[in-house]
Symmetry: C2
Subunit: 570 residues, 2 copies
């Protein structure tokens, strides 16, 4: 993660670090954000064991879950643990600790489990906070407003609810309102295997989908833009090579190798010119007769003015490359499987924590309207900006650390259409149209191919783009997104919609953000260690912010550390 | 399809046209073969309606299937039709004609339907011809050996069977021994929708799979090779731009656009140098701690010597781009659905046609050992080189045309493993490792993710590569393929195999080839027209040779023409 999305260059252009991090969310997706932190020197290197830069057998210690047998020879007993938050991190902690017989109770303020791993179906309701929580005061444990929390917001009671949407999707339609895709290397897949959650391919990139940037007159198919860009790049480089411009750098053998590569890569002709070809696609597809081509490629000048670099390389990242995966039937299959293993009786929803007290021999956690629970340990997996508002005795440095990461905006709109026009008319089966409009991506469903209805994600946007939708009521979000999508798909885009629902993660009760961004290294390291008997876990304490894999990795780390401590104290 | 796989350059290198076509099969897959024909001037333009080169609304006449109501006003009746061959083309003809009430009988020489759309499962048997049919005399209708059919083959009786493999796969394992993937734009998907055949994604390219060329010391992940190649290309082009080498071609605005593109595309640094990055992947994946990188990218000289162009651009073609699709449960779901619609009683398997006679008022078809069938019309969908050996009165020009296309070799090996090591250890979920070894590709299954067993395609090779396997007994094919695969996956590749089966399409009874290659334009046009009352259909008469879509498109064309004729004559 040395570089991402051309960050160093932009940073050198004088953008503020904050603006940079906010911008990355919009530009590169969540995955790029942490990469950017590395660039900016925010990576938590001091808490990590040194890893050799090169060489072979230095894989990290493989994770071994706590087991009942661990206690046998030591005469100890599994401890009791209060887990705050029934998102992926919390459920994973309870699940892993449960393997050794720990008695865990998971406390969740929301009505349902899963946290941001939220899948919406017909009959569900989705409530939002009345105002953007960015405009609410962030209070620390001492009751005073935290620095930076002041704003000119309308005086809305904190936590007051605004609009509630009732999801009207038909049977079989689901909408992953939070995480929607899993990369092959992520530990999330291991949990799917272990939990028996069936998988299918999530189409993250589709050559038949479209690109639309401000520099473009009209949307163009990914395959066409790709063929033209690769073709012209190859032509330019091959001709520069022919002209001797690279003689100082390349041997004759290098040049032959380069020209061989470019001939395949750019599909350029014998004179090294790019003139189009079948990779661009066809106006009329080949069949019995030859296909009819799309015409002449655009002139180089026009292509270069379209600023395709970002939208055409969305899948270049380590966390974005094809293929990606999704659980069959909805992302929440994972959290539901975890909760089933933990035991339904051990997860209490609607249980808002208002106070966390470290005591010499345990932890006391107060639940709003339901008294005080006591346990040997606590694992707190709430979002840090939410946790920072909970009273208790964790210490000012811990609270300051919790208040450091900045919650980020991201939003999604699910559109259920009466018919799958994108498959029938556009021949797009899954994948995303990438834009630099405020809607970000339009995603076509990777499930239910050829079904009657289908769910399109009308926007998945982040940061500044998401903020333009955050404070709108659903009807206005819908209107705005349909107007934007029509720039890709024409006026028919607004027709045939059976149901829709939108989410602004900054306005989700008890979550109040899509993910966080660390503006500085402060706090990240501190929170890797327990505050007394309280451990912290979540994607926000890893290199995989905004990924379920981050939550799982953090849970494994905390579970391992907690278990070692319990074994040692036994 | 103006160019493909750098053909013009190679042709200019002095290869023979035949060697070129053979070579393309190996290099670019079947899809590239027809593209090459276009380059060589073999595309059947004289039979096609002129299509404007540019412009908008010139879509081809949409296909309208024959309907019962077509006959109502004309007082005619649906004709009787003998369809030769129960592959995709034959079944599609019978299915489409059946919509209007035509009485079709489908005659299939093999024991089962589907032709090359063959899915093998546990309990199936697979017999091969005793010798490579390339070495058997090709006889025309006149009984004399066709030109080019002579060889130094061992004197094996034509049609004599050699080895029979019994497929030992476990329940749930299947192996698409023929076609395995469908592109989004292909008509095959429309038939899946119409027939209710459920689809899932076929992973054609996987960033986590490997590449291995002769120039490489060891296999490298696709993502790593891609990052390095794109990075160095961007560095070279950006630095050439910086040095003014492109000043004659590019304006200042062009240059800015180009450098912006290259910064995204190549992930190059502020000085335009490529030094690696997260796109390459990690030696230890990021989690709570930062990932450990793979070390320094290889020097440019080494990278260029590896000849990655072809293997890295396998998915650039219009027929290869991601995502692709497959029917759930096996490709033969399509032909089984077609046969069910046609009616089981209308498909006669084990019915080898030995004679085809045009009569003034009908067609007479002789079936070996089962007498003569008579019908108003015949649609012959057998492979042309097989049809050329059937006696009758189609005419010398027709027989010569049928004998023109050259049957090609392709082979596949299915390996059922006890455990899915490629998912667990290599973190490869579907997709292909591309090589320039004689095994061509190694395909990882796009179904059954996380299951207990799994089926790997140990080779899918074509042309010269396939020929090295064609004449081997299965045991030796297996041994050779495992030795090759071990170069990618190490010695463990040969372990844990529960069952295997291999197919050499040149040795399949009544098929005798994976597909055909047209060495000249002769014949292609003639066979687009009926010979008397006998029509010809198949992928081999389209621009989509080796694709099921070709068979469907050809069937639609012939059904339309036959129906118009019947309506006219009614």
């Amino acid at each position: 993660m040395e570089e991402s999305e051309g960050l160093p260059r932009r940073a050198a252009d004088g953008l503020t670090r904050r603006a940079l991090l906010v911008g990355i969310g919009a530009a590169g997706g969540a995955g790029a954000m942490y990469a950017a932190m590395g660039v900016l020197g925010l990576a938590p290197s001091e808490t990590t064991t040194p890893v050799p830069a090169t060489g072979g057998a230095s894989a990290p210690t493989p994770y071994v879950p706590p087991q009942r047998s661990d206690f046998a020879l030591r005469g100890g007993r599994p401890a009791t643990v209060l887990v705050l938050g029934a998102g992926v991190a919390g459920l994973a902690c309870a699940y892993e600790l449960g393997k050794a017989g720990y008695h865990c109770t998971v406390l969740e303020a929301r009505d349902g489990i899963g946290g941001r791993s939220l899948t919406l179906r017909g009959g569900d309701t989705l409530s939002e906070l009345a105002a953007n929580p960015a405009q609410q005061a962030v209070s620390g444990l001492d009751g005073r407003p935290a620095a930076g929390g002041a704003s000119a917001a309308a005086p809305t009671a904190p936590g007051a609810l605004g609009e509630t949407q009732r999801v009207g999707f038909g049977a079989g339609t689901y909408f992953n309102a939070g995480p929607a895709r899993i990369a092959q290397w992520m530990v999330t897949l291991d949990y799917c295997r272990e939990l028996g959650v069936p998988l299918e391919v999530f189409v993250n990139t589709n050559a038949s989908a479209y690109l639309l940037t401000e520099g473009m007159r009209r949307p163009v198919r990914v395959r066409t833009a790709r063929a033209d860009a690769y073709g012209y790049i190859s032509e330019l480089l091959a001709k520069a090579t022919d002209a001797g411009a690279l003689d100082a750098r390349l041997t004759q053998a290098d040049k032959e190798g380069l020209l061989d590569f470019l001939s395949h890569f750019g599909d350029i002709g014998p004179e090294h010119e790019y003139t189009g070809g079948e990779r661009r696609g066809f106006r009329v597809d080949p069949g019995v007769r030859p296909g009819a081509d799309l015409g002449t490629p655009p002139p180089l000048t026009r292509l270069l003015s379209e600023r395709l670099g970002r939208v055409l390389t969305m899948d270049a990242g380590y966390d974005q490359a094809m293929p990606m995966f999704q659980p069959v039937g909805g992302m929440d299959a994972i959290v539901r499987a975890l909760a089933a293993r933990v035991g339904e009786g051990r997860v209490r929803t609607g249980a808002r924590v208002t106070r966390i007290m470290n005591r010499p021999d345990g932890v006391e956690v107060t639940i709003e309207g339901a008294g005080v629970l006591r346990a040997d340990y606590c694992v707190a997996t709430l979002p840090p900006h939410v946790m920072a508002r909970i009273s208790g005795n964790l210490g000012a440095d811990v609270v300051a650390a919790l208040a450091t990461p900045v919650p980020m905006s991201a939003g999604k709109l699910g559109l259920e259409y009466r018919r799958r026009w994108w498959e029938i008319e556009d021949r797009i089966y899954g994948g995303a149209t990438e834009t630099d409009l405020d809607i970000g991506h339009i995603w076509y469903p990777s499930y239910g191919f050829h079904g009657e209805r289908g769910l399109v994600v009308g926007y998945y946007n982040t940061a500044v783009d998401a903020q333009t939708y955050d404070d709108l009521p659903h009807a206005r979000r819908l209107r705005q997104a349909l107007a934007q999508g029509a720039k890709v798909h024409g006026p028919a885009y607004a027709k045939g919609i059976l149901a829709s629902v939108s989410i602004a993660w900054r306005r989700q009760p008890h979550i109040e953000g899509a993910w966080v961004s660390w503006p500085s290294r402060n706090g990240f390291s501190l929170l890797q260690r327990p505050a007394g008997r309280v451990y912290f876990a979540g994607d926000w304490l890893t290199q995989l912010i905004a990924w379920q894999a981050g939550a799982f990795e953090s849970a494994r780390k905390v579970v391992t550390e907690l278990h070692h401590r319990v074994l040692k104290e036994a």
